[in-house]
């Protein structure tokens, strides 16, 4: 066996033993080794193989570029965690609001106990309908939990894809620093679409009304 053949065989053996550790660089390297081995007068068959190997190499490179363009690392490290956090916040908020509604129902029931006749039965009837309507929170909570599990499954699959494609593909693009964003807001150059349309913050991260009042008041000093 020639030195070249041994090199290619060793690489193919490595791929066969640990397929999950194979990177695209590995595969491209094998393909290029084979292409480089084709020397001397080439038969039509050799030319065909060479062309197909070149096409395979180009296809792998182009697929890597396209996948890199999707920014899979961004999806896994930012977008999916944000989505699951937001959905958890939805469940928390609807649970809290439903609790308040049910507290109000209890208060109405207390008042209903102090009146008689149709007024009392009317109030109780309305409270009952509110209790029934509030069961939405249970259903929405379950549906959202299903969505969160689906997102977590997608996250796992993207992780597996990143392992195959290679870590450099997943590298995040540089974000604008918060200090720069604050400076831009002060001098009026901030990009509204990029930085000011974020929607509700996660409760632990959101500014309170008191903090906002203090910030507004600082402009008057």
């Amino acid at each position: 066996m020639s030195a070249f053949s041994k090199e290619v065989h060793d690489k193919l053996d490595a791929i066969q033993k640990q397929p999950s550790d194979v990177s695209t660089d590995h595969i491209i390297s094998v393909v290029r080794s084979i292409m480089a081995s084709i020397e001397g007068e080439l038969s039509p068959t050799d030319l065909k193989i060479h062309a197909e190997l070149e096409e395979l190499s180009n296809f792998i490179q182009s697929t890597r570029r396209e996948i890199a363009g999707l920014r899979p690392s961004d999806i896994n490290q930012r977008h999916i965690p944000t989505a699951t956090d937001e959905l958890s916040a939805v469940v928390g908020a609807t649970e809290e609001a439903t609790g308040k509604i049910l507290d109000c129902c209890s208060a109405i029931e207390t008042i209903a106990a102090t009146v008689e006749g149709e007024a009392a039965s009317g109030l109780i009837d309305i409270v009952t309908r509110i209790y029934e309507a509030c069961s939405f929170q249970d259903i929405t909570g379950q549906r959202i939990t299903k969505v969160v599990k689906t997102l977590q499954h997608i996250e796992t699959k993207i992780d597996e894809l990143l392992k195959i494609i290679g870590p450099e593909i997943g590298a995040e693009q540089e974000q604008v620093s918060h200090e720069d964003v604050m400076e831009q807001s002060r001098n009026g150059t901030i990009d509204e679409k990029a930085h000011l349309l974020n929607g509700p913050q996660i409760p632990q991260a959101a500014s309170t009304q008191d903090e906002i009042d203090a910030l507004l008041a600082s402009f008057d000093n």
Binding site: M182, R186, G188, L196, L197, N198, I212, L215, L216
Partner: protein, 128 residues
């Protein structure tokens, strides 16, 4: 000077539920002449067409955001002194700073309660 509760108030939000809540709270505070718009562009057209005493607007709307509406209002001679309260889920400091720089009269973060709405309206219109 006493606040004229007969003034026309324009509420702007792309969520019907929020418009319903604001209308209900304003009614409880004694403000009956409440008109609605579901985006900044419609709101601006209404403001140009009638006399309003107060605008209460959301931020995150399309095609015109609450910030763009605020800037448009402050850019017109007839409207530039109109009290404008932003009521929004956007709570980051850069949002508040940008709105203040654009001339917002006050800023309420969602979710809010009736007491907060009354307090911020009072600080802008006068006590009532």
């Amino acid at each position: 000077m006493a606040v004229n509760k007969e003034m026309h108030v324009l509420i702007v939000d792309d969520y019907k539920t929020m418009l319903r809540i604001l209308r209900g709270l304003l009614l409880q505070l004694g403000f009956r002449n409440v008109e609605e718009a579901d985006n900044g562009a419609t709101a601006l057209a209404k403001l140009r067409g009638a006399d309003f005493g107060l605008v209460i607007s959301d931020w995150n709307m399309e095609p015109m955001t609450g910030l763009q509406l605020l800037k448009a209002v402050r850019a017109e001679d007839k409207l530039k002194k109109l009290p404008f309260i932003m009521v929004t889920a956007e709570s980051k400091p850069e949002n508040v700073i940008t709105a203040k720089q654009a001339g917002v009269s006050n800023y309420i973060v969602k979710p809010f309660n009736a007491e907060t709405l009354k307090s911020k309206m009072s600080s802008v219109l006068g006590p009532f």
